[in-house]
Symmetry: none
Subunit: 346 residues, 2 copies
DNA sequence: GCGAGTTCATCGAGTTCA
DNA sequence: TGAACTCGATGAACTCGC
């Protein structure tokens, strides 16, 4: 019908429904700009009865706006300031994410373990959160001394107990039997996926807004978790687990590993992480986590993690092997709750 | 066509439509100046039939104005005095807005407290962060037992010490001398700016993604901080401070106050904040801050703040006066670092 | 794809000043 | 007087989450 083509306000060419009425672009913009702020301010100097058509729609704002309402345009479909603001920051977040997804693109995807394909990593994080909330059952907090000591403290403990063992075997060749050796080789190959890009000539970006900083951090962890999933799938030992156990291990381990491995990007001298993407190095200072907005989010692990970093700084002469082994140990933590088959690795 | 390039009045070079007719700049100005005021005053001494062209358009005003009307120029497109006035004030207020929100370039021109114009609140937050980083000088952490006990714990301490004093004066009228009474009235008036919208019929939104939740929190604090700045500027006590001290107080106090006042939106039964905007209630559970992604950001204040909330839940029978007074106390904290004139308030 | 918002070149009012 | 401005309003052509 002609009604579907013509603006119900001015008779111009319509471009679909706008605020619940078929209108043209200009009447849409006009309504968005004036419906809330100027509804009462316009005055008609011609008897409040002006005909509104393509030619004279701009002659009398009062009558144009009146006609907008008369044909049924609705102000409740306008975004509030808060909604605009929120939408803006969501778009901002997505921008950051996409900018960094360019690296991926590999892997034929599809196939196996649909439970681990995990659509967006966002959802993993959310899952993890929800899981954490339901602390009624015997789970993370109680099982694993998580509630007070935190992931980071936990990693710290692991670190101390493990280093004496791993240090002597830097020439990992024949101290294990053949099966173990193969698995170790496989592990180290798989972990190559996770190698951080080395220092590039990319420009350093000092993050200058709180929101941006948070987004970069989230983005970095999300990307890291994707890589962890990818890496895990390369391990036969991991693939041999049932789907359920794989999911459990990933869900509980991914974020911890991600945090752990961030140490590779930590500059111990000047105390900052350098998050490398294709074309930028984002600088995130350790102090960021001591700033007021973060304080407002509560939580008790800043100091523990700081201490962990300091200790690691001493022991860890950039030997990625240690980190790689810690990664595996965290991943295959047999104490994860709800694990069906508790099989030990290595 | 030539008609689109040539002034319909004098044949000069046109610059588009003016008062509904394609004319040159000079005929436009001529019409604006004379159409209303001099329409009847001009007289032609040459038969009222002068040819109007580029050369002789100034020879006879009467005939020029007549031609203007003849080609269709319309006086109703001239602004009335009222419209001019309106336009002026709109431009004026836009100027003020821009001066207040413009990026950097602070100071110069404008006038009063340019340092508090504070472009975007985002930057304030970042400033706050940066300031917090430079912990080398005697500042927040050491000055105020912030580093371990946190802002929130601090507020908690304040709370305990203050309530006994403030409780008895709920009828704040004549326990102070007049000056103090005036200041208190002024304070409470200013704080009205900060009243949270009361429960509306707006729909409740349960946030379903981590990023969205963070964004809502940031948005809420940003808006709150804007209001705090606005509120502070209404206080003569605050305005009497030098610009530098005003800035310091705001920088250190704004976020703390924002966090503090969030308690007004806290549901103590079900343990969630309800962030109200014009048309939505965003629900943020206390547990959110105990979730893994937040854990990954470190920091040691979740439990303290939780405890603070629990204690306040007991004492605070929704008496906003207490919160209001705490707001002032936090704002005028004399222990802020780098404060030039340490003057006590109240 | 739809329908929110966003962007930006352009228009046409008034304003300034030599 | 008129050339050269300022600036809000407009609307075609976008972006982007859902
Ligand atoms: Zn229309
Ligand atoms: Zn009208
Ligand atoms: Zn002319
Ligand atoms: Zn004449």
């Amino acid at each position: 019908m002609i009604q579907n083509i013509v603006c119900r306000v001015c008779g111009g060419r319509s471009t679909g429904f706008h605020f619940d009425v078929i209108t043209c672009e200009s009447c849409k913009s006009f309504f968005r700009r004036n419906a809330l702020t100027n509804a009462t301010r316009f005055v008609c100097y011609l008897g409040a009865n002006c005909r509104i058509d393509l030619e004279n729609r701009n002659k009398c704002k009062k009558c144009r706006l009146d006609k907008c309402f008369a044909v049924g345009m609705k102000t409740n479909l306008l975004y509030s300031d808060e909604q605009k603001q929120l939408r803006k920051s969501i778009i901002e977040s997505n921008r950051k994410l996409k900018a960094n997804e360019m690296t991926e693109t590999n892997d034929e995807s599809v196939s196996s373990t649909p439970s681990l394909s995990l659509q967006t990593v966002n959802d993993i994080i959310m899952d993890e959160m929800c899981n954490h909330e339901s602390e009624t059952s015997s789970d993370v907090s109680t099982d694993n001394s998580f509630s007070d000591l935190s992931i980071n403290k936990n990693a710290y403990d692991l670190d101390l107990s493990v280093i004496p063992v791993t240090k002597p075997i830097t020439d990992y060749s024949n101290q294990f039997n053949e099966l173990e050796g193969n698995k170790l080789t496989e592990l180290l190959d798989a972990l190559k996926i996770m190698i951080f890009p080395t220092a590039t000539s990319a420009e350093n970006i000092a993050l200058n807004s709180f929101v941006n900083t948070i987004n970069v951090i989230i983005m970095a962890h999300e990307n890291e978790i994707k890589k962890i999933i990818q890496m895990s799938k390369c391990l036969t030992t991991f693939n041999n687990l049932c789907d359920h156990d794989q999911l459990i291990l990933i869900k509980h381990g991914a974020i911890e590993i991600s945090i752990l491995r961030m140490i590779c990007n930590f500059n111990f001298e000047d105390k900052y992480w350098s998050i490398k993407t294709n074309d930028h190095n984002y600088i995130i200072k350790l102090d960021f986590f001591g700033s007021a907005p973060i304080v407002s989010m509560g939580l008790t692990h800043y100091n523990n993690h700081k201490r962990f970093l300091e200790n690691m700084g001493l022991d860890w002469d950039s030997d990625t092997l240690i980190i790689d082994l810690l990664t595996a140990i965290v991943l295959f933590n047999p104490n994860r709750p709800q694990l069906m088959h508790k099989n030990m690795i290595k």
